[in-house]
Symmetry: C2
Subunit: 270 residues, 2 copies
């Protein structure tokens, strides 16, 4: 019953370490909070072939949703829509609604700067409104490149701009409500415990015991090395229908694990 999503981030800047992939981090946090299951993040370069091949690869995993970020702008290296069109075997065509969006956003921008509202539809501007056949433009409340929605047989694909403020605005306005509806009453709950004075290798069998006794609760330990002192964060998570009371189940598992740790000589805190 889980709603799966994959994220595809397009941009050489992410593969050369020019820019940190804050978009992926923001998206997974927000999608997870809605109860969605993020299955994969793929970061790829700006070439039509790689984008197209990756879209095909990701579609073969049959996620309910795909979100791409980056590559919707007016410059030559903005190739995401060409890549999606290639991957889906669709033609690109100028979308009149998208063209109107580009025009209006550019006029707004000129107005706020006290410039005359004359918008020439130059090839780079028309490019931002040239979408894979059958797709629908999605309002971008911040920038001039619209988001793009493509409805496929088992998957809804959204292409979002790479500028964080634009990506976040479109997600919040047009995607989050859709994910929320798909997820229904599934929620994601989490809780952390902090452990000192015990090897992770000694903790491992205790986690196994608690997970067997608390089906559905996932427990993962994260060793943290800082300032030459080591400790471990134990992170308990559960994604389930609200009626299954996941927060209570996590709490119960955490209490059981804390008791086992103390019995085995460890020090645990919340």
């Amino acid at each position: 019953v889980s709603v799966d999503i994959e994220i595809v981030c397009v941009g050489n800047e992410l593969l050369i370490g020019k820019v940190e992939n804050t978009n992926a981090y923001w998206l997974v946090k927000h999608a997870t909070a809605l109860g969605v299951n993020v299955k994969r993040i793929t970061v790829i370069e700006d070439t039509v072939k790689v984008i197209g091949d990756t879209i095909c690869e990701v579609l073969s995993h049959k996620p309910q949703f795909i979100i791409t970020t980056g590559g919707l702008g007016p410059t030559f290296d903005d190739k995401t829509l060409q890549g999606i069109a290639a991957g889906l075997g669709r033609k690109l065509e100028v979308n009149e609604v998208a063209l109107q969006m580009v025009k209006e956003k550019t006029m707004e921008y000129l107005k706020t700067r006290g410039l005359p509202p004359e918008v020439e539809l130059t090839p780079p501007r028309v490019k931002m409104a040239t979408l894979p056949k059958g797709s629908v433009p999605v309002t971008n409340p911040v920038g001039s490149a619209p988001g793009v929605r493509v409805d496929l047989p088992k998957t809804v694909l959204f292409a979002l701009p790479g500028v964080p403020l634009e990506m976040e605005a479109i997600f919040t306005l047009s995607i989050a409500p859709l994910l929320q509806a798909a997820v229904g009453d599934t929620v994601f709950c989490q809780k952390s415990l902090y452990l000192n004075g015990m090897f992770e290798s000694k903790l491992a069998p205790l986690i196994d015991v608690v997970m067997v006794a608390n089906q559905g609760v996932y427990i993962k330990s994260h060793p943290i090395l800082a300032e030459n002192k080591s400790h471990t964060e134990i992170h308990l998570t559960m994604r389930a229908k609200a009626i299954e009371k996941p927060a209570q189940k996590i709490q119960k598992a955490a209490e059981q694990l804390a008791i086992l740790i103390k019995q085995n000589g460890g020090v645990v805190s919340e």
Copy 2:
């Protein structure tokens, strides 16, 4: 002639936004600085099937190197070596050299804490030394789980721990020299210009002109929205043999672009 690498980050914590993927960012920066071409980053969950399938998928792209991060520890959710074994169709077996490494590191750790150097080889400790058949353990100067190297027909695969200090130490000690040797005298150069007062859509055709005139120089513009003021960073990069003088070629392209921008009414700075 480019040396291609793919990065695979394993860990549910990266897909739920619990932890930012600083490992990928660190790796791409360091690999790029060495002149390596990072082709893709894939972030996946902790299941043997997904890890195995992803390794097969990535191998099909034929990169010279693959680096995985995460999932080498002693707990049940550390499944990267099982996943790699499944993907490659190899058995897992206890590696005596790795077992000795785990033992020594644990003894060192106990010593620094003034504890008796008795190391019991419990199943979670043996697990860290259970590697896909035919692989070689790689010294971890920081933690107890060794890195793992698997030599495949066209690809060398390294599995590194997810703890950043451990991952960075193994990369620096054992992988960077190998990448440097593979890359030879190829270098990566970059330079930024900052643009004000011009739409990206007006900049786009100027970039096209300069890229055609300066083969090999890649120019990408990044719109930056901050505090309700917009400007654009123009990033010029080139990966080439040192003898081709990429830094000079980038400088020449930047100068040509700056002139075109000024002629078209924009304000450009370094």
